[in-house]
């Protein structure tokens, strides 16, 4: 039997990813910030013994794509095979959300509406009558609170019924008569055109009036004469263009629907949340919680990481003596075993202890909606470095990992901002580099130097951004939704963290083990010395560091966590604290490795997202910035 395709569509923050998570077992990254799903996530699910393919598309405010993520959704919707659309609607923002619903009805695919965040709407004092919506739109409507798994079973049942029935008429909503006449006129002009993509004739007729740029050229040329007249008439009658007229039409329909199907039973504001929000968003006081937030995260990661790392240290130190006797018997076997063990103990004793608190905090934080508030607060400052507030989100994600951060640049509408943000992201210390910074800082310099390095990278991002923006013109304006504050769910945060830990164990751990093994072999066969010689002028000459660290830089290119494991291995010590480095050298080394090169995965994603020229610029830029920065630190410290 043919596998049927279900697409989840909705506005940003409507909870599509949460619905998707419940429907499938995959935990896709969901968060309370517009545009976290920038690539679609897919999964196969089974309902009553039948297999369905389900896809979670990036949120769109309307079917007039602005940024890359929205373009992706539009392309998927029009070009891929879809048997059913689940329109996830934020019930607490009903009237705005219904505008997209109206547009999807025009599109004409079979549809089921999930009125999500039902509990949130009730909390706001909004009484909604879903049966009235069902009657008005003549499509199935289900109420859900996906976060708590409520209503999802019914949603699945209704979807199954629609798909089993095979044929579903999706009646479009009629416009006011004079616009309706125009729409029908364009629709008639299109009647001889065979539409290859998804989407009804009516949908393309409306889009022709609203946003003709979206139509295929052959379709557009067929209706050119009629369209010109229609658009001219609309402009005369409404004193505005087709885009605004059609948008107001939908707005009007959505408002009317909203009035018909809902009313406020208790129009009380939520005073406490609003008060908190006023504080968080205050133009001056708002920076205070921002600062506290960053410092608290820093301290939490430092202490939790340190504690976990110390507790792992003791049992791990007991193991190497167990196989020490092997060295005399077969040095190659000892080198191999020790290489694997060093990789394992590096992952368990150094990388994971800092990685865990970081990803858990990020998961909680993403849920609250604070990210978009930071974007708003930072807009003024970001303008000074040639960007706008929206770039803050990819930057903050960059503290986790540069790869999703680079994908997140897709939420930026403008190519200029995307490129600039993409070039700056590799400078932000990701979780892997955070591990290296913290592990070495704890062993040698204390937490303050870690903080200095963080502040220094912020300075580097600022200055580099300012410098680059001199070549690429002015930034465009910010338009950003600030979603309601939410109490984060620990359950969701736990499952999301677990998903990322699994990811780490699956992809990073083998890398660490194999890398560490390779490093041991390089030492055994003395190849590392050749590599070290290549890097010696830079490391020894310019930065005043031991040349033996050269080979760690090569491994660091593959995974930044490897730097710490490799440094131990290269300098022949079993514990980081025993490294023959002075605190000053450690700081210079840290500054260099934090900035020196995007890692392999970042490299690939940069290539994929921005083409080779940007990769080249990024590479040269980071080597230059890292060398200059580390040299400056050397002048002061060594």
């Amino acid at each position: 039997m043919k596998k049927l395709n279900i697409a989840l569509m909705g506005q940003p923050n409507a909870g599509k990813s949460t619905v998707f998570n419940v429907l499938s077992d995959i935990k896709s990254a969901a968060s309370n910030f517009s545009g976290t799903t920038v690539e679609y996530t897919e999964s196969d699910i089974e309902i009553r013994g039948r297999e369905f393919h389900i896809v979670d598309l990036p949120g769109v405010y309307s079917l007039n794509p602005g940024d890359e993520a929205e373009k992706l959704t539009y392309k998927y919707l029009t070009e891929k095979e879809i048997d059913l659309v689940i329109n996830v609607v934020d019930a607490s923002l009903l009237s705005r959300s219904l505008e997209l619903t109206v547009e999807l009805l025009e599109f004409g695919l079979p549809m089921v509406i999930a009125l999500n965040m039902w509990d949130e709407a009730e909390r706001k004092g909004l009484k909604i009558y879903p049966e009235r919506l069902e009657k008005a739109l003549r499509v199935p409507v289900v109420t859900t609170s996906a976060l708590y798994g409520k209503g999802v079973k019914e949603l699945v049942d209704r979807c199954y019924d629609v798909l089993a029935a095979d044929k579903m008429e999706v009646p479009p909503v009629a416009y006011t008569s004079h616009i309706e006449e125009n729409v029908q006129r364009v629709e008639r002009a299109l009647s001889g055109f065979s539409i290859k993509n998804n989407g009804s004739r009516r949908f393309y007729a409306i889009k022709a009036i609203e946003n003709p740029g979206l139509l295929p050229a052959d379709m557009l040329s067929m209706i050119a004469a009629d369209l010109e007249e229609v658009r001219g008439q609309i402009t005369r009658l409404h004193r505005t263009d087709g885009a605004e007229t059609v948008s107001y039409e939908r707005h009007h329909i959505a408002m009317k629907l909203n009035e018909e199907i809902s009313h406020f039973i208790d129009r009380k504001e939520v005073p406490l949340r609003e008060k908190i929000d006023r504080f968080l968003l205050h133009p001056l006081l708002g920076y205070f919680p921002l600062l506290v937030f960053f410092l608290a995260s820093f301290v939490a990661i430092y202490f939790i990481g340190n504690g976990l790392s110390a507790s792992m240290d003791f049992p791990l130190k007991k193991i190497p003596p167990l196989y020490a006797s092997l060295k005399g018997w077969s040095p190659l076997a000892w080198y191999s075993l020790d290489g694997i063990f060093q990789g394992f103990s590096g992952a368990l004793g150094i990388v994971l202890p800092y990685f865990l608190p970081l990803i858990f905090l990020t998961a909680i934080f993403e849920d609250t909606g604070y990210l978009s508030r930071i974007a708003f607060l930072m807009d003024g400052i970001m303008h000074r470095i040639g960007l706008h507030g929206k770039s803050v989100a990819p930057f903050i994600m960059g503290f986790g990992c540069s790869v999703p951060a680079l994908y997140a640049t897709r939420i930026l509408e403008n190519r200029r901002e995307r490129m600039l943000t993409g070039l700056l992201i590799p400078f932000i210390p990701c979780s892997a580099r955070t591990t290296v910074i913290f592990a070495l800082a704890i062993a040698f310099t204390g937490p303050w130097w870690a903080l200095v390095i963080y502040l220094f990278t912020a300075l580097v991002v600022g200055l580099t951004g300012k410098l680059l923006s001199l070549f690429v013109g002015k930034p465009t304006g910010l338009i950003l939704e600030i979603p309601g504050l939410k109490v984060p769910s620990f359950k969701v945060a736990f499952s999301r963290s677990w998903f990322r830990v699994k990811d780490f164990l699956k992809f990073a751990l083998p890398f660490l083990l194999v890398g560490s093994l390779a490093m041991s072999w390089l030492q055994y066969f003395h190849v590392d010395r050749a590599v070290d010689r290549v890097f010696a002028p830079l490391l020894k000459g310019i930065l005043g560091l031991p040349a033996a660290l050269g080979s760690t830089l090569v491994f660091g290119f593959f995974r930044k966590e490897l730097i710490i494991v490799m440094a131990n291995n290269a300098l022949g010590v079993s514990s980081t604290a025993d490294l023959p480095l002075s605190p000053g050298q450690v700081v210079v080394f840290l500054v260099f490795v934090t900035l020196y090169f995007p890692c392999f995965s970042t490299f690939i994603v940069l290539w994929k997202e921005f083409k080779w020229r940007i990769v080249l610029v990024s590479t040269l830029l980071s080597i230059f910035v890292a060398t200059v920065s580390a040299y400056l630190f050397r002048l002061v410290l060594l």
Partner: protein, 126 residues
């Protein structure tokens, strides 16, 4: 704040606002696309100003989105339309402007200062 910005007075005449004759060279008829009961009845005098310079914590009525096509589509999709009543949050005078839409009861929207300069709003002076 008002002194730095040219102020024109709009008067309501049968369902639409008209610029006061004193400085009216252009007929600045503000669009009334739909009568949704969003507008208060009765004669009133409105001050037209751009959103960036409009006062905070006052009920403002969005009159015109003079931004480029892309920004306008985005604003419309996020629920900022001419005719909507919005409230602006206090701000420092630089950086983005934050508004809450009273008509739509939707989430807050942050708008960059350059764009806010080009969104015209009206408010009733008390």
């Amino acid at each position: 704040m008002l002194a730095s910005f040219p102020v024109c007075i709009l008067k309501k005449e049968g369902g639409s606002y008209r610029q006061s004759p004193a400085n009216s060279t252009v007929d600045l008829q503000v669009k009334f696309v739909y009568d949704l009961g969003l507008f208060r009845q009765g004669n009133k005098t409105m001050t037209k100003i751009n959103l960036a310079e409009a006062p905070a914590d006052v009920e403002l009525e969005v009159l015109e989105l003079k931004t480029g096509m892309v920004a306008r589509q985005r604003l419309l999709a996020m629920g900022v339309h001419a005719g909507d009543r919005v409230r602006k949050y206090p701000h420092s005078g630089h950086g983005a402007v934050l508004i809450a839409n009273i008509t739509m009861n939707s989430s807050k929207v942050a708008i960059g200062r350059g764009l806010a300069d080009r969104i015209m709003v009206g408010y009733e002076e008390t």
